[in-house]
Subunit: 348 residues, 2 copies
């Protein structure tokens, strides 16, 4: 044992097998570096220039329908294409490349330009979860698709180029590197213990309680012991579900509630629309038995000290090892201390 | 084979064993997202408020000497500490942590507040290389140190909190995750082929030429085939040197020249002080035989489209796989097309 809130240490990420460096004593460091612009918080319900608003035109010339529920379309600037030809390059066994096929979609979460997830009703969030589920099912039915990444980049600081609430799905024919790692780690544990690693991890976290933020009927939201980003969290399903297609109606509703509460707490930390990249990790598709997978969703928010000062994952982190200053336990306490009523509704 | 400039594909990173997704067709995408502030380009030679300038006071109360050559001191806000006690945590084999010991240093590259590496003379850059070498030797002489990361965060966008030209060294008692990966990959290749993987890779690149930027007596600078950041480059020593302590006087001088030319070309791309995180990867120390290691230096610059629009490694990239739009070959051509005379001296 050692004083976890004082001494620099590393923690093991069970899902990747990699470590994170934690420097708790360092949070007192003054900051003279880059300060971000605050996102303006007064968007109209409808923006005639937004390519995601109902009825507006898009880059490829298409026109959005006057949708009233979540609306999905193929990304006009897809990074992956459905019709890429098969092909390999191999020069001296040193320059190795292979074509990749895929489909990239965009989901407008709401027709309202001015909302974000925490500001939507649970009923409307449930519609989003149901669209994620049906899109997953539809993409998984394509035999050459092997992995489906559902995610959201929120906030300009996270590369989001349009504030209209939306997420993305990238589906492709091989397993991305982060999925390969989680696949390996989960497989090793499952075939040794006969249970998913996240089931056992949940038991430990629910007993320790220090990192748990939300614990409802079907989901737990917590700051993982090995979190790298300051306010990183994970939502884990209590039942060992391998992918979202297995969600019951009740689980869809409960995930909607969990999302609303977690993102509301996030916004309340700095009374700002809290930026993040978030996304689900779930079992590969069309690759046989995936009993070792356990559905979960990661939130990677960059803010550290205030609404305008983020954590920089740069030199040491890029070249050597992810590093954080505040501990996972401190972060969990801060998130737990927030109101579940959004600050715009007068909670803070 | 396939059309590498048209078709989405993945490329294998020989040093990590991981792949990068390349989407060449996507570079036409318009950008409506975050635009960075331009760094002001009119710093004084001496700033009385800068904690790195000669003679000024620092956070811990120390006063800098009136140094005229590169100046090194222990970071006042070190992420790693020399005297961390030994300690482990293991809860249910699921929460696993261990204390980490280390030393963090800062190197002011020059007494001049207003310079950056490309604006320094080759003679002054050689002094920097020699300090890197002597610091490495000094830290490697401490028996419990096992890895030494020499790096520079340049530019506010890369989390650099002081524009005075400086870099850092973090030395520690275990191998960081990126080093573990490179160690593995290099080891496998070396014991199979009797040569370092980067020696063979260099031969292939010097034959293909499309990704090579600088080729002088002792070093090659190139855009690696598997580059993830838009203008990512690597400097590789021609001789298979395992660490900087083995550099000859001539190699120190040649690295100084290579650094000057590469960073000048970078600045000339957008006529701006080009931000990046850069650092050397070299053999672990005090861990026995390291014959498989081959010294190299990575440059990870974030800019993509202009001096103010960067590549965002966010949702898909964080959750699934690094992704880039322009190909390594396009990037190399752009860097090669730049003048070797700095734009401030009237080259562009
Ligand atoms: O040590 P500095 O320059 O204050 O801090 C900078 O570099 C460190 C090492 O890459 C990072 O951990 C910090 O996030 C970054 O802001
Ligand atoms: O697709 P978007 O929203 O235009 O782009 C954003 O998300 C992508 C997926 O994470 C990234 O590749 C881009 O760098 C980012 O700006």
């Amino acid at each position: 044992m050692f004083a976890i809130n004082d001494v620099p240490h590393t923690r093991l990420n069970l899902l990747t097998g990699e470590r994170v460096l934690v420097s708790p004593h360092r949070s007192k460091r003054p900051w003279q570096g880059q300060v971000e612009d605050l996102a303006p918080d007064n968007r109209p319900e409808y923006d005639p220039k937004c390519y995601l608003c109902p009825g507006n035109g898009r880059a490829d010339g298409d026109q959005n329908p006057k949708y009233t529920e979540p609306f999905v379309f193929v990304n006009d600037f897809s990074a992956l294409l459905k019709d890429s030809p098969d092909g390999q390059i191999n020069v001296d066994n040193l320059l190795i490349a292979e074509t990749e096929r895929g489909i990239c979609k965009v989901i407008a979460f709401s027709p309202r330009h001015d909302l974000t997830l925490p500001e939507m009703s649970i009923a409307d969030l449930k519609l989003v979860v149901e669209v994620w589920k049906s899109e997953f099912q539809e993409l998984a039915a394509i035999p050459w698709i092997n992995y489906i990444q559902i995610f959201e980049n929120k906030g300009a600081i996270m590369g989001c180029s349009n504030p209209h609430p939306h997420g993305q799905i990238w589906a492709q024919n091989t397993l991305p590197v982060e999925i390969e790692k989680e696949d390996q780690q989960q497989k090793i544990y499952f075939y040794k213990h006969g249970k998913s690693i996240l089931s056992d991890y949940l038991d430990t976290e629910l007993r320790e309680k220090t990192r748990v933020i939300i614990d409802n009927e079907h989901f737990v939201a917590l700051v993982p012991f090995w979190a790298a980003w300051p306010y990183e969290t994970m939502i884990i399903s209590k039942r060992q579900i391998t992918n979202i297609a297995e969600f019951t109606e009740e689980e869809c509703e409960d995930l909607a509630k969990t999302l609303k509460e977690l993102t509301t707490r996030y916004d309340n930390i700095f009374n700002t629309s809290f930026p993040y990249s978030a996304g689900m990790h779930q079992a590969p598709v069309n690759l046989g038995e995936q009993a070792h997978w356990h559905w979960h969703m990661h939130f990677y928010p960059p803010l550290l000290r205030s609404a305008t000062v983020k954590k920089f994952m740069v030199g040491y982190e890029m070249l050597a090892n992810p590093q954080r200053d505040i501990t996972a336990e401190m972060a969990a306490e801060t998130i737990r201390n927030q109101s579940t009523i959004h600050y715009k509704e007068g909670a803070n």
